[in-house]
């Protein structure tokens, strides 16, 4: 089989290919329209938007919305809170998930399959099931309305996916690597740190992009656990400020864009990791 015939095999006639291309362009346009609308809105005055001008290309770049948004001190508090929670909870859940995944992959014992299934089952249940008990528990611990509550919850909720992906990744790593180190008298701890950690970097990168994005975007847990303005995360603050600027569409657009910027950047630069993470656990599991 030559390369050319293989490439041509699934495509069919030129007419068909042109039709498919046109269909994809139309669909891509429809898919992009909502996002583009928000980006446009951020650069338009609220008056223009309410006159039905939202969905056209801005004739001039109006930066007034960003001026209003960036002057609000609470925006910086929201951003700082979310960075603190997303980064520390991602690191913690990935660390804990890697430890568990390592044991399940390389040190299996009687009943470890069952324990692994129990961990993974955490993926299937809606958070509503633990909402009230956790609220009560954190209330008793005096952690309601602190960032600690969010860090702990996101760490615990992240353990299932981190364990699943790390176990599946580590199972594909040959045992010989670990065994030869053991023969040379290297301790388990050092193997984990100097043998397993370096080869796991791709899987860790996948988890980091996934966890950061999910925790950044989460809305339910801050809604339950946070009460005061200075502990709000970006998504909670976005909803709160939307109430304040209920008809100031342009300002809402600028806020949404600002809140999405970190995850959009992660997506742009780590798209490959993001996509493989979404399919990896699922397809291999």
């Amino acid at each position: 089989m030559t390369d050319a015939s293989q490439r041509a095999a699934p495509s069919g006639s030129p007419l068909r290919r042109a039709a498919i291309f046109v269909a994809l362009v139309v669909l891509a346009g429809l898919f992009l329209a909502p996002t583009v609308g928000v980006i446009f809105s951020a650069f338009k005055t609220t008056r223009d938007i309410s006159l039905g001008e939202l969905w056209s290309i801005p004739s001039r770049l109006f930066l007034g919305n960003f001026a209003v948004v960036l002057e609000k001190p609470e925006i910086y508090v929201y951003l700082r809170n979310t960075f603190i929670v997303a980064i520390s909870a991602s690191l913690l859940s990935i660390t804990l998930g890697s430890l568990a995944g390592y044991v399940f992959a390389k040190l299996p014992f009687f009943g470890s399959e069952l324990l692994f299934l129990l961990f993974v089952s955490g993926l299937f249940f809606p958070p509503q099931i633990v909402l009230i008990p956790l609220f009560k528990m954190f209330n008793g611990m005096g952690l309601i309305d602190t960032l600690w509550a969010l860090i702990i919850v996101h760490t615990a909720m992240g353990i299932p996916i981190c364990t699943l992906l790390m176990r599946n990744f580590l199972i594909s790593v040959p045992d010989a690597l670990r065994e030869s180190a053991l023969v040379e008298g290297v301790s388990e701890w050092r193997i984990l740190l100097f043998v397993v950690l370096p080869i796991s970097l791709p899987a860790l990168a996948v988890l980091a992009t996934l966890q950061f994005t999910w925790i950044w975007n989460d809305f339910l847990w801050p809604l339950i656990m946070v009460q005061s303005d200075e502990k709000r995360t970006v998504m909670l603050g976005l909803v709160f400020l939307r109430g304040q600027y209920s008809v100031a569409w342009g300002i809402q657009g600028a806020l949404a864009l600002l809140a999405s910027l970190p995850t959009l950047l992660v997506f742009l630069f780590f798209q490959r990791y993001f996509i493989s993470g979404m399919t990896m656990g699922a397809v291999k599991g």
């Binding site: 099931i129 909402l131 008990p133 760490t155 699922a282």
Partner: protein, 296 residues
């Protein structure tokens, strides 16, 4: 040797197991305990009321309303992104120019927060200047007075609108899963069909689709889990309204517990939700298990 390994098993598992047990497993069981009380969220000692909450649930028309909406939501939020993702994957599989850019465009919404997606779609359905009404008006040469449908404020259209927004966000995920499934189909199979002059639509129907069964199982499972968990986008776009027309169990549970502070009653709703999840998951895995037996 064995004791040494046991030491490490214990040392490495201690932290993840205890965090998981304390903050995920224990609260799951604790829900059952609260469902037997009339806790209001403030008292230190909730009063035990037995199965009273469950008796009330099964006489509460709002509960059955959200149960039906959950079924509608799950059916639609499962079918639309799965079929859409499959269609996109099949289109992209014909190796058109710029396939990578197309993939990124279809995939982009998944990295946006539900809060932002909700806001975007509120604007699309906005009655005065929303994209949908503008498009309908320009297609039918209507003035804003002649056509002014408030999509999200109408009980008849609210839930469907949120399903559309949700599908827009989720389709890309299913597309990626189907694309991964497509690459695992041996090319000899399709080449043999090409030599025999099998028309394209027959190849898709009799070779590609059957070979995509494992990918379909994965896509359905992920969509199902995602659909059961959905809260943010409904909360943002409709809050369950108007007149509870888009209330699902997840939303109904939140409103009863954290808006009306009926935490005992809310716990019993989450117990029902838990049991529904168990039934669906067990049924699904039994089904997929059978599939595996047939195809392996």
């Amino acid at each position: 040797m064995a004791t040494r390994e046991n030491f490490w098993r214990f040392a490495l598992l201690a932290a993840p197991v205890s965090v998981f047990a304390v903050f995920v497993l224990w609260p799951m069981f604790d829900s059952f305990r609260y469902s037997l009380t009339d806790w209001n969220g403030f008292d230190d000692s909730p009063r035990f009321v037995g199965l009273e909450n469950f008796r009330r649930i099964f006489t509460d028309p709002l509960f059955f309303n959200s149960l039906i909406n959950t079924a509608i939501w799950m059916g639609a939020a499962l079918a639309v992104p799965t079929i859409g993702g499959l269609a996109l994957a099949l289109l992209l599989d014909s190796r058109v120019r710029g396939a990578r850019i197309f993939k990124s465009i279809f995939y982009l919404p998944i990295c946006l927060a539900s809060v932002v997606v909700g806001q975007i779609w509120i604007w699309i359905f906005q009655p005065d200047w929303g994209l949908l009404n503008e498009a309908i008006r320009s297609a039918g040469h209507l003035s804003p007075k002649q056509f002014h449908w408030a999509w999200l404020a109408e009980p008849r259209t609210a839930l469907a609108c949120v399903i559309l927004a949700w599908s827009w966000q989720q389709t890309g995920l299913n597309m990626v899963i189907f694309l991964a499934g497509l690459t695992s189909i041996p090319s000899e199979l399709l080449e043999a069909a090409a030599i025999d002059n099998v028309p394209d639509w027959k190849k898709t129907l009799y070779i590609v689709l059957p070979m995509l069964r494992p990918a379909t199982a994965v896509a359905v499972a992920l969509s199902m889990i995602g659909a059961l968990k959905t809260f943010d986008i409904l909360y943002i776009m409709t809050g369950g309204g108007p007149f509870h027309s888009s209330d699902t169990l997840a939303l109904f549970m939140y409103n009863e517990s954290f808006q009306k502070y009926k935490m005992g009653y809310g716990s019993s709703i989450s117990v029902v939700l838990f049991l529904i999840c168990v039934v669906i998951i067990v049924a699904y895995f039994r089904q997929v298990g059978k599939l595996g037996e047939i195809y392996d």
